[in-house]
Assembly symmetry: C2
Homo-oligomer: 382 residues x 2
């Protein structure tokens, strides 16, 4: 991506002059050379899983994920053409996503090239294999991981990847996680929040957390639509998904791990969350006030919430290209715990690139967030 194009994209970010707090010791201008960029929350799928979703979304009683899955996997092009007035811009955009999700070759590499993106850390897109029954889920996870490893073998400089697994088939999942790291050479794990309405604090998932800790590889907890037990206020106005529900589903999941003592039981577990920390960094003062040891109400945690954040949690910038929020998170968590992401193909690449190229950061901070942290946390060697 040419520097001129990056600067043109600046208009999409609003005027930096509106942020007077970024006033000294921080470069206002992009670095002279574009920074190396590793995008850390980049989605893909495989045809077999796309087919399985098409079947799943038409079943009875499936959860709110069906709304967005229907848009992506189940709307024939003909219906789009016939419904000019009923389809919003975003709904329309959803229809173009499937070819990009399925592609690990020409389309994706060309989009990366156009954006000057060095690497995608790939992960099976939400809601992963978690919506299927355990045996089917484990089989599809294995298939997806094999395809992912194959794509990485072909493009080792451009792709890294996270292994998926079926949390509700925990013994098989733990073995698949081991295979993902030790045989396939993958860089961590991906899970899409709840599994059949259970969160990872449920004791049945302990083998999965044991495996992640033992393999010393990070677990990316990605959003999906809110679980059934909190669905009602989110089921109107399309609030179940990216506009609101995803963040609340995932932040609530993380707090169940913290307040449920999971991070006391697995003190070395490394968790990654997207979307600028799913709102949690903003709440840390109050979480500490209300949730510190000694202030607890029926909780027995060893540390303050903010201390778990600094020990166990990394965040990415996926879907939140807001320099003010980024600065806030650096102040709260440190630049060494933040990684850049695009959320390809759901978010466009160019503004995400312009964001990391032009956000008011020191050169050291920009390099950490753009690629150095990702190299360290996901063990990516050049």
């Amino acid at each position: 991506m040419k520097r001129r194009k990056v600067l043109q994209n600046l208009s999409a970010l609003g005027s930096l002059a509106a942020f007077p707090e970024f006033s000294s010791g921080i470069s206002r201008q992009p670095a002279v050379a574009p920074v190396r960029k590793i995008a850390t929350e980049e989605a893909f799928t495989i045809p077999e899983i796309a087919d399985a979703y098409r079947e799943w979304i038409n079943k009875e009683g499936v959860n709110l994920d069906r709304l967005v899955l229907k848009q992506i996997y189940d709307t024939p092009d003909a219906r789009l053409a016939a419904s000019n007035t009923d389809v919003s811009n975003r709904d329309r955009a959803a229809l173009g996503m499937l070819p990009k999700l399925l592609d690990l070759d020409a389309i994706r590499l060309s989009d990366m090239e156009a954006g000057g993106v060095s690497m995608h850390i790939l992960s099976l897109t939400m809601p992963g294999v978690q919506v299927f029954e355990p045996r089917q889920a484990s089989a599809l996870a294995r298939l997806a991981n094999d395809r992912l490893a194959e794509a990485i073998r072909k493009q080792p400089a451009r792709y890294a990847g996270l292994a998926c697994f079926a949390p509700h088939d925990p013994q098989v999942a733990a073995k698949e996680m081991e295979r993902g790291i030790q045989s396939l050479g993958l860089n961590g794990f991906i899970v899409n929040s709840h599994t059949h309405n259970l969160y990872l604090d449920d004791p049945s998932f302990s083998p999965v957390l044991e495996a992640a800790e033992a393999l010393n590889a990070p677990l990316y907890i990605h959003p999906r639509a809110v679980s059934d037990g909190m669905a009602k206020p989110f089921q109107d106005y399309r609030m179940e998904g990216a506009a609101w529900g995803y963040g609340i589903e995932t932040s609530t999941h993380i707090l169940r791990l913290i307040f449920g003592g999971v991070l006391d039981r697995f003190p070395k577990l490394q968790i990654v969350i997207g979307h600028m920390g799913e709102g949690l960094p903003f709440w840390l003062w109050r979480l500490d006030f209300m949730g510190s040891p000694g202030a607890r109400a029926g909780r027995k945690n060893q540390l303050k919430p903010s201390e778990y954040f600094k020990r166990n949690i990394f965040i990415t910038t996926s879907g939140v290209e807001d320099p003010v929020a980024l600065r806030f998170c650096i102040d709260k968590l440190g630049a060494d715990r933040i990684m850049w992401a695009i959320d390809y193909p759901y978010q466009p690449t160019a503004p995400a690139v312009a964001f990391i190229e032009t956000a008011p950061l020191s050169d050291v901070e920009r390099e950490m967030i753009a690629f150095r942290n990702a190299e360290r946390i996901f063990r990516i060697s050049r």
Copy 2:
């Protein structure tokens, strides 16, 4: 409060040197004279409502509010003395709150004096009268408003207040709101999020919103425990209340008003939310990206979420004494939309005072947030 004491309290806020972004044009030191302070989310109750809660919390099927109400209203002192090991610090503190909630005289005025707080804007504490059946709720609302007006008449320089009402008795509520402003001289309204699991976007509540808009008085939407339809993931680890559920309940409520088109139907409605905007300011970039007109998915809003914030919503600092979060909110919303609050008696006065006295703000910003905005928004004359 003496300047020396304020400065001693500074240690509770952590080192300001940790916030390098507050570097120029902003005074690091407190103003020479303490600023006038109007606290805007200060709780009280009356004995009749305390009695009614004691009855309500022992009924079948009541919602998660019962957990905190039991601590405040239903634990005999003897049980506390007998259960040293089982009662956490915060549970213990809850037991001391009832006398302060019931007091509009000596205890409160002395706490205000000690903290150098000029005025409390009083509101009936959560969950208000909304948990009772409509006729009882309307009667208790009327009684609470009469007592509130009486307390203000005795201490017009120290107290202002918000009228409560029974949203589920909407015609009576609208009349009580009119009486609250026009006869009792109160300064706005208080509602505690959902009413029997319905939010204010439910068409049954239209008379209440019409009244608030017509009377040109702000409606404070205060938290309560999450509604039944989202209770399940919040019912463990005491996540239903101040540690997490309150914020999610209230922020989700606000987004139902935005995405449900309520602020298009009532464009002059003025809403106040506490706890540094219940996390919403942090999400505004993504809310705008996902929720703008044209990007909508089944929503028909006229404005971007951030535009509703700047037109219809004020925030207070209750329970979030975090100078980094405050600066973030000033950048996002403007200092003219932020008011200081203590959340008395749930939060201690001294640290809230130290926060507003010492947060890195310009003198103009500090005065706006400490009292000028409250005077303007709640129409308080000296």
